[in-house]
């Protein structure tokens, strides 16, 4: 771990002799074709009707309502994950019980499960044919549940390695000096975990704001009620309003880029721990 910073600064002799520029050229070429070119086309298409048209498209009441809902769901999801994710990481690292490794493995499931299946499973349990009689289909609560499902691992997986590395001696020292368990958490554990929690929360937020597959079945897509931005974009494209779809997409793109650059800044600030 400690050597990683030093390793970065070592001159890369092997790749500098010809191989380096080749690798870089191929890598940047691939990135341009797969990622940059489509995104450039998106930005280009969003301003096809001029800046006035762009503004009209993103300020349409339905578009604004959808964006507000997406951001609200994203924020709620991020806040809930901050608490539940930290608690889960804590239980997985510090608690001992039978079957812990199974619980730990299970947490990867939302990463691996297709989003449409995630939506369908939630609909089966909390939809019209719920065995519990709980029907939250086509409500904002359902949207939140879907986003919580798909973002479940983000905070846990960011906090877990930091908690594993955290030296328990500090906590013991604080306890021997008379600190209560709440004081220890607030003064010692939380400050150490905070950067990891924040980057997990930021990823949860970005993912929840753009989620599509998990919400498309469960939300019912009622305009002004349960229609989130990604569903709005899809609908606009289907009804032939490509410019409107592109304009809102550019906003989502900017939000995602902002979140990522924020996490990048956070990563530089937090030099001690590698971010997963």
């Amino acid at each position: 771990m400690a050597s990683s910073a030093a390793a970065v600064e070592q001159p890369a002799v092997v790749l500098h002799r010809g191989g380096g520029s080749l690798a870089r050229g191929v890598a940047l070429g691939y990135l341009s074709i797969v990622v940059l070119l489509p995104l450039a086309a998106l930005v280009w298409a969003s301003r096809a009707g001029g800046l006035g048209e762009f503004w009209d498209q993103v300020t349409r009441p339905e578009a604004v309502a959808a964006l507000k809902l997406s951001l609200g769901i994203g924020a709620a999801c991020a806040l809930i994950n901050a608490v539940t994710g930290t608690a889960m990481a804590w239980v997985l690292v510090r608690d001992r019980f039978r079957g812990k490794s199974i619980v730990d493995a299970m947490l990867d499931l939302p990463f691996a499960l297709p989003t449409i299946v995630a939506g369908l499973t939630l609909l089966a349990l909390y939809g019209p044919s719920s065995p519990f009689g709980i029907d939250i289909a086509f409500t904002r609560t359902a949207l939140l549940a879907a986003c919580l499902f798909v973002t479940l691992p983000f905070v846990v997986r960011a906090v877990q390695p930091v908690l594993l590395e955290l030296d328990e001696e500090m906590e013991e020292a604080a306890a021997s000096l008379g600190a209560g368990s709440f004081a220890i958490f607030r003064r010692i554990i939380f400050p150490n975990l905070f950067p990891a929690i924040l980057s997990g929360v930021a990823l949860s937020f970005a993912r929840a704001v753009g989620e599509f597959g998990a919400v498309v079945l469960i939300s019912g897509n009622l305009p002004f009620k349960t229609e989130v931005s990604s569903v709005y974009i899809f609908g606009q494209l289907q009804s032939g309003n490509g410019t409107g779809a592109a304009a809102v997409s550019v906003l989502l793109l900017l939000i995602s880029l902002g979140v990522l650059l924020g996490i990048g800044g956070l990563r530089r600030w937090r030099t001690r721990h590698d971010y997963v």
Binding site: L28, L109, T115
Partner: protein, 264 residues
């Protein structure tokens, strides 16, 4: 006391959000018997969707593996201006809505797009396999890169330099020194890439045009079945994807400990 409270709180949350819903899908798929579920996943339409899903993954995953390794090498082993930005762009698919990804491809290759002319030359991208592969490649780009980068940083360049001084060619150095050290990270990345490629929904939904029996992948098929009120068909196909996901989780566990071993 508070420890038990926390433990059961966490386990309860996981049960309600994750375990019960996924478990119920299995129950629902098999409640009319295994034969019924088997029939539902072996209809020609379902089989075609499964084949197409695997075909798209079979192209996108190797492409992102090879180029992912090259991208990781470029990011760790070379210095260039704008590396921070390239880093952010590599991560972008993790944070961007899949619908936006699909739309971007749609606008690039669609009628009036910069590369829309390709369709007139007989090269169909949209509403065909190439568009779906491109969408999947975009979405799954970060996984191999993100797994390989930290390992490359950790192993440093000393061994590579030593091999170089002893007269090894760059290709030999890569094959004999670099690749063996990153192989478990690559494997981990490949498993993640495959899982995401098989499950991709939003981006593929936009670019495929969802032509039944032609450009319909398994996730799209599931939505279609559900919306046409064939819920048992949707549940049965979901179980196929859920089993792949569970297989993925098991594979991740199998790969991970060895990776840690090779690092130490």
């Amino acid at each position: 006391m508070s420890r038990y409270l926390l433990r059961f709180g966490v386990l309860g949350y996981l049960a309600l959000l994750l375990l019960l819903p996924v478990g119920l899908i299995f129950y629902r798929a098999f409640e009319h018997g295994i034969g019924h579920a088997w029939d539902a996943v072996t209809t020609p339409q379902a089989l075609h969707a499964l084949e197409l899903t695997l075909l798209v993954a079979a192209i996108a995953v190797p492409a992102n593996t090879v180029f992912g390794i090259i991208l990781a090498l470029a990011l760790v082993r070379t210095r260039f201006r704008g590396r921070g930005l390239v880093n952010a762009i590599v991560d972008l698919p993790l944070a961007l809505s899949p619908v936006v990804v699909g739309l971007a491809l749609f606008l690039l290759y669609g009628r009036g797009g910069w590369l829309g002319g390709l369709a007139d030359d007989g090269i169909r991208i949209l509403f065909a396999v190439p568009g779906m592969v491109l969408a999947t490649m975009f979405i799954t780009l970060p996984f191999v890169v993100r797994e390989v980068v930290p390992v490359l940083r950790e192993i440093g360049t000393e061994q590579e330099q030593a091999a170089e001084t002893l007269g090894a060619s760059p290709l030999q150095v890569f094959r004999r020194i670099t690749l063996p050290s990153i192989r478990w990270a690559v494997a981990y990345g490949v498993v993640l890439t495959t899982a995401r490629a098989i499950g991709e929904f939003g981006a593929v939904a936009v670019v495929s045009g969802r032509i039944v029996g032609k450009t319909e992948t398994l996730p799209l098929y599931i939505q279609g079945q559900y919306e046409s009120f064939d819920t048992s068909g949707a549940y049965a196909s979901s179980v196929v994807l859920a089993l792949i996901a569970i297989g993925t989780v098991v594979a991740l566990r199998a790969v991970h400990p060895r990776e840690e071993e090779s690092e130490s």
